[in-house]
Symmetry: none
Subunit: 431 residues, 2 copies
């Protein structure tokens, strides 16, 4: 087969199946968890590409080559992750090139990008980094906007069958963004059918209660399917329609309306936004501002808010009042409240919310005070006891929670419920 035929075949090739091969002794030694596999698997599913295998091998030439050959014998698309670093045990690119019968060639333009990356961070590229500019011939180079190692997409014929080998870096951020920005667009051209998905994100209601209320719908539906799954403090309903092309009629909307009729007040989002972003956008649309007073969550709620680009428009700041003296001095919580009711009490939560609203001059003030554990609990106020309050120009509302779980989980749930109390207050949904 001539090279031209080969390229033509690849242009029209369909990708139905994929597998993920992670390269790294640190995975085999259990030093890191293979989160990339889960991320990529999810992405492939959304593209309608089936995954049948995930494999991990160490930084060993023979085993990497063999694993690539095994994958090429049974799958259309092989995604390799990790092993693109500059050191001697980073062998993925060389192995992939060898297994696919390609030479590695030096790319001056990529080397320039690497040296520029180092220069921007005030360092100088070492000689060993040159290796990262050695890339397989006849392949698509995948830029790395968050690190030094470029990736590659190698199209090839393997025993007459069209195959694609993709190499992505191991660090999750680099891995995910390179996939999103450069691999996904290519794959979209080679998939046969697509999945259309809508996600309804709910909070304030448990998974079994959700399932009870919509059991009949789940059983009736085959396209779209309705799949509930729960994560910490939240339930998500995934509605998935199988489509052959973009022209397929929308089967999702009627089902979605029925779900809203039954569960609407718990649905905080229909897209990709998490609750903090929903709250941010709600504030922005009303041109209102907020500040937080956090005790047991110690800045978690603020930090989640700070993750959002452009949040400075609505977020004035917060006080992490870990010590009681900070509650008094920075938030004007009256000393008698701390003495009589304690720091974990309705009156203290309310005073904190009012105090931070005053202090920052924001429209809303949100406070969290509780016992995250493992120590500090009592019979009356066990670990997991958390008071949350929201103050605005109309007054202050508060709510008591008793969370189960370890310290980290209690803190995450507290921040989530504080966002939800603020959301419900802004939408006049009651507590």
């Amino acid at each position: 087969m001539t090279e031209k035929n080969e390229m033509d075949l690849l242009k029209t090739a369909q990708i139905d199946s994929a597998e993920i091969l992670a390269v790294g002794t640190e995975l085999l030694m259990g030093q890191i968890v293979n989160t990339n596999a889960a991320y990529l698997a999810q992405q492939l599913r959304e593209l309608g590409i089936s995954s049948y295998y995930q494999t991990v091998v160490g930084d060993n030439h023979a085993r990497v080559i063999q694993a690539i050959h095994t994958a090429l014998s049974r799958t259309d698309l092989l995604i390799m992750t990790g092993g693109l670093g500059p050191t001697a045990d980073d062998i993925s690119m060389a192995c992939a090139a060898e297994a696919c019968g390609r030479k590695l060639v030096f790319h001056p333009a990529e080397w320039d990008k690497i040296t520029a990356y180092f220069a921007r961070t005030g360092r100088k590229a070492a000689e060993i980094n040159r290796k990262q500019a050695m890339l397989p011939e006849d392949s698509l180079i995948l830029p790395n906007n968050n690190g030094t190692a470029p990736g590659a997409l190698i199209p090839l014929l393997w025993q007459q069958q069209p195959r694609f080998v993709v190499l992505l870096p191991g660090p999750p951020l680099e891995n995910h963004l390179m996939f999103q920005d450069y691999v996904r667009p290519v794959l979209l051209k080679h998939t046969r059918h697509q999945l259309r998905s809508v996600f309804l994100h709910l909070t304030g209601i448990g998974e079994s209660e959700v399932e009870t209320r919509i059991q009949d719908l789940i059983k009736q539906q085959s396209n779209p399917t309705i799949a509930p799954y729960c994560s910490e403090g939240e339930v998500t309903l995934r509605l998935t329609q199988l489509c052959t092309d973009d022209q397929d009629p929308d089967l999702i909307t009627p089902v979605k309306h029925e779900l809203y009729a039954r569960l609407g007040q718990y649905v905080y989002e229909e897209g990709e936004r998490r609750l903090p972003e929903v709250v941010k956008d709600l504030l922005a649309s009303k041109q209102l501002t907020v500040s937080f007073a956090e005790s047991c969550t110690a800045g978690l709620m603020s930090s989640q808010f700070g993750d959002l680009p452009g949040v400075s428009q609505v977020f004035l700041g917060s006080v992490v009042s870990y010590a009681d003296s900070a509650k008094e001095n920075l938030l004007q919580v009256p000393a008698f409240i701390l003495r009589q009711d304690g720091a974990v009490s309705q009156s203290c939560a309310q005073a904190m919310a009012v105090g931070c609203r005053d202090r920052f001059g924001s429209d809303y003030g949100v406070s969290i005070t509780g016992i995250a554990g493992p120590d500090g609990g009592s019979t009356e106020k066990p670990v997991g006891t958390v008071w949350i309050a929201v103050a605005d120009s109309q007054g202050v509302v508060s709510k008591l929670h008793r969370f189960q779980g370890n310290r980290a989980k209690i803190r995450r749930l507290a921040a989530l419920k504080a966002y939800d109390l603020l959301r419900r207050r802004m939408l006049n949904l009651g507590e």
Copy 2:
């Protein structure tokens, strides 16, 4: 070979190599992350058993059988996880029995345990749960003290070679405790050598610079081996000594001393602690307190600190001064600094550190102010520009960073470097 010979061989068989096979379509769809693999890999490493492969396959009979046969052809020990539930797509036990040439037999005693487990949680075992009491003949049954599904350990001869197949449940808690309580003790009788590992965690120096400085040592060393790997803003050096028994001389310490001589000031930890915990313990040992003033990190540093149990001993609180008005009002940053130098400047960082130290009355005050992006950058102060300062009774030190990456990465790196500046200040290491 007679059955007696087979059992004798197994009694004395050594286990040098292992692999982990996870069964579950939910892994292939990216709905859950394979944390069991990392946990088991770590356990195997500590037992001196080498891992060369990890595999994930879906709930598919042919692929599970094939994966078991592949593993038996190349490894002494196969650990399978998941697929032990009661539903039709839980096929691991049946596949393992078939692949090993064993029958499944009903175990009345296991069925009694399952019904008792349901009774304790106020439920009744369903008829489909009977399947979980069907276990391979001639195998060791592994009790499940945290769920319904028992596991199994099947010893067998595969092409004259002694092999062990272990089946563990998928839920992480059940998985880990069953391994700890029932599998580990068996494996200990069959291991030839053990690994001793020490981890040196470094920050403030890049991976290639580390490698350049110790390249000669990496090349010289075969026991212990030295392996560098990097994560965001950090480099870890793993030293691993292969031992035949507990009495082997310590070969790690001399190498470690040499590494300290070359890289000591960058090593923040030799064990399992992350940098915030190292800083917390350092403060606690000196009976000193700290407070934070965070701008672009918006509470991330505080939240990481708040994750640590018992941190209230050293942590008084923080101010997230997102708005300039908060910097003035809560941290007493002089208005002229904000006007002349701007919020992202050395003088502002210093004033914030001094201001929060005063405000909270803590021994140290740590500040972070910068541009996390995506907006807000300029030619002079591009996205990623971050000033960090530490104030104490001696004065205030500050450092300028220019980070690369997206908003989340810039914020994480800023928090990491702020902890490191505090650590260096406490240990008089300079900036």
